[in-house]
Symmetry: C2
Subunit: 85 residues, 2 copies
Amino acid sequence: MTRFRVAIHIVPRRGILDPQGKAVADALHTLGFASVGDVRVGRHLVLDTDAESAEAARDAVRRMCEQLLANPVTEDFHIATVEPA
Amino acid sequence: MTRFRVAIHIVPRRGILDPQGKAVADALHTLGFASVGDVRVGRHLVLDTDAESAEAARDAVRRMCEQLLANPVTEDFHIATVEPA
């Protein structure tokens, strides 16, 4: 078994209202960053897990996203990196 | 001016307690993912901004992180990608 460090991005699906992103965009405009357009705020998770291979770690993390980490109705997830920890 | 799409990771600094990460790790263990160790939960932002160049976009986003997006006491930020939108 090897320990892998996996980075995951979970973002609101395009077309779904993202009130947090809207609030951040408004705050940036107030601070003078007038050139900022759309802002989306999601989650960035980094987790360590033991697995036989990088592919097995990726499969396990995909199941974690489907079962717990991402909301299947409103969010998309993307496994960004799988690296030996 | 070109429109750039910038991805930012904001994560709790190592060594600082991350209660949300701890809660996620506990929930994953309960679901049977026993091989999961440390979990850190941060934010993944994607924002569109107009700038003269990718370097100028990166500089502007760095200032946004310092002034609003990241908590300088507890969080580290990393500008992951800067790409024409």
